[in-house]
């Protein structure tokens, strides 16, 4: 067992883990934060996506020992973050989830899109969502929600500057 310490949703936590334990399993099994979902466990489905040092990453492909001394934010950890509050609201209004299994990963990816790509148009949003699978919604509600969150956070004048990539 290896001792690790990391910042999880703003709180210092530590634990003893086997080297083979993924960050996702550490978060779910040891820290009892089961909002992070495991679908494929080989990096394809995106359900386990969390923010590590502010950037979205697959928690199924990161060893917990590799996350030692890093900053990890899961779906439980956004508190009253204004950007995530807007994304959540539009996910609800646009019916961007049904069973909810993919939602934690979708929210992490949506948060990254809204923060990193203020001018993203629907084509770009669609491309950026390529790494998150949803088997319920057909994606249109998710694209709508992120599009509206972008407008809400960055102002409607971003529409005239939307890129066409």
């Amino acid at each position: 067992m290896t001792r690790i310490s990391l910042r999880l949703n703003g709180t210092e936590v530590s634990g003893d883990v086997e080297p083979r334990t993924s960050l996702a399993d550490f978060v779910r099994e040891d820290q009892r934060l089961t909002g992070t979902h495991l679908g494929c466990e080989h990096g394809v489905c995106g359900a386990c996506t969390v923010l590590i040092d502010g950037r979205p990453m697959r928690s199924c492909l990161m060893l917990a020992v590799s996350a030692d001394r890093r900053d990890v934010r899961t779906v439980e950890g956004y508190g009253d973050d204004a950007t995530m509050a807007a994304i959540r609201r539009f996910f609800t209004e646009c019916h961007a989830l049904q069973c909810g299994f993919c939602t934690p990963g979708m929210l992490a990816t949506a948060y990254d899109i809204v923060k990193r790509l203020p001018r993203a148009d629907r084509t770009r949003i669609r491309a950026e969502l390529g790494g998150n699978l949803c088997r319920c919604t057909g994606y249109l509600g998710i694209i709508d929600a992120i599009d509206r969150a972008l407008d809400h956070i960055h102002g409607v004048d971003r529409r005239v500057r939307k890129e066409t990539s």
Partner: protein, 283 residues
């Protein structure tokens, strides 16, 4: 699936990592971003006794421009290249390729050195580095050596790296201001593994024109005839498709892979090469 048990080490310097690798050569795997090794561990396709985590080594994060060469540390992630943290010495090709690799969450972890060392035939960097004439700096406790990217990949998931060796950096020659390039990847959806990928760079006539083709089970192939034919084009002539197809057939024949090709592979190879050629000519 969960990985089989392994021991773990996170050395704090490159020398320490190389010593660990030498002591455990053949029993250890290097872990950088883990976007290829991670799935292989989880699926138990890889069951190393020791995983050496080199993901935080500062020595592998170097980004330096010298003598017309851009040095990129092996540990630089695709997302940083996508975001322009590495000067794009190939007139936008590096950023274009980086942005097409898998998904942002993968690009935030996966590294250029890992992509080359893993040598998946469908990987994005090997054909591009070969086309750009890049070189690879290799380190071990025995010393340093430098080889061409074209000599690194020897087969499917196979490289010229010895068990105690590690890629330290990639050296990309600075292209001239007249470089034209085309790059096209055929995949089932954005970010998926390539069914076929073709890259053509034209930096002058003759040796300055290079084409590389790779695919899901096809290691990178140099397309000398095709690159020469495309470099000589003025615009996209009426018979361009036939010219490219004939040249590609010659290249595939030269490499001895033409006879064994399925009609499907032949079609998608031709599609990727045609689109890359069209892009290079129009650039």
């Amino acid at each position: 699936m969960k990985p089989a048990s392994f021991a773990y080490a996170r050395p704090s310097s490159l020398d320490e990592a190389l010593s660990l690798l030498a002591e455990n050569a053949g029993r250890a795997r290097l872990l950088a971003g883990g976007q290829s090794l991670g799935p292989m561990l989880n699926l138990r396709l890889a069951t190393p006794e020791l995983v050496i985590d080199i993901g935080r080594l500062a020595e592998l994060q170097r980004v330096e421009t010298t003598d017309g060469v851009q040095l990129v540390g092996a540990g630089v992630c695709h997302a940083d290249i996508e975001d322009g943290c590495v000067p794009d010495v190939a007139r936008g090709l590096l950023q274009h390729v980086a942005r097409g690799i898998a998904y942002r969450a993968v690009r935030n972890r996966g590294t250029i050195g890992g992509s080359l060392a893993h040598a998946d035939p469908a990987a994005d960097w090997p054909p591009v580095m070969i086309a750009l004439g890049a070189e690879v700096d290799i380190a071990s406790t025995r010393g340093r050596r430098r080889i061409k990217a074209a000599e690194l990949v020897t087969g499917v998931l196979s490289t010229a790296l010895e068990p105690d060796e590690m890629i330290e950096a990639i050296r990309i020659p600075r292209a001239s201001s007249t470089l034209r390039w085309g790059h096209y990847k055929v995949s089932a959806k954005p970010g998926d593994f390539a069914e076929s990928v073709a890259v053509i760079v034209i930096d002058g006539i003759g040796a300055g024109a290079r084409g590389v083709l790779a695919g899901r089970s096809q290691v990178p192939l140099l397309l000398s005839e095709t690159a020469r034919a495309v470099a000589e084009m003025r615009g996209w002539p009426r018979d361009a498709r036939a010219v490219v197809e004939t040249a590609l057939e010659a290249d595939l024949g030269h490499h001895g892979v033409r006879a064994a090709l399925s009609p499907e592979d032949r079609s998608i190879y031709l599609a990727s090469v045609l689109r890359a050629a069209q892009e290079a000519v129009a650039a």
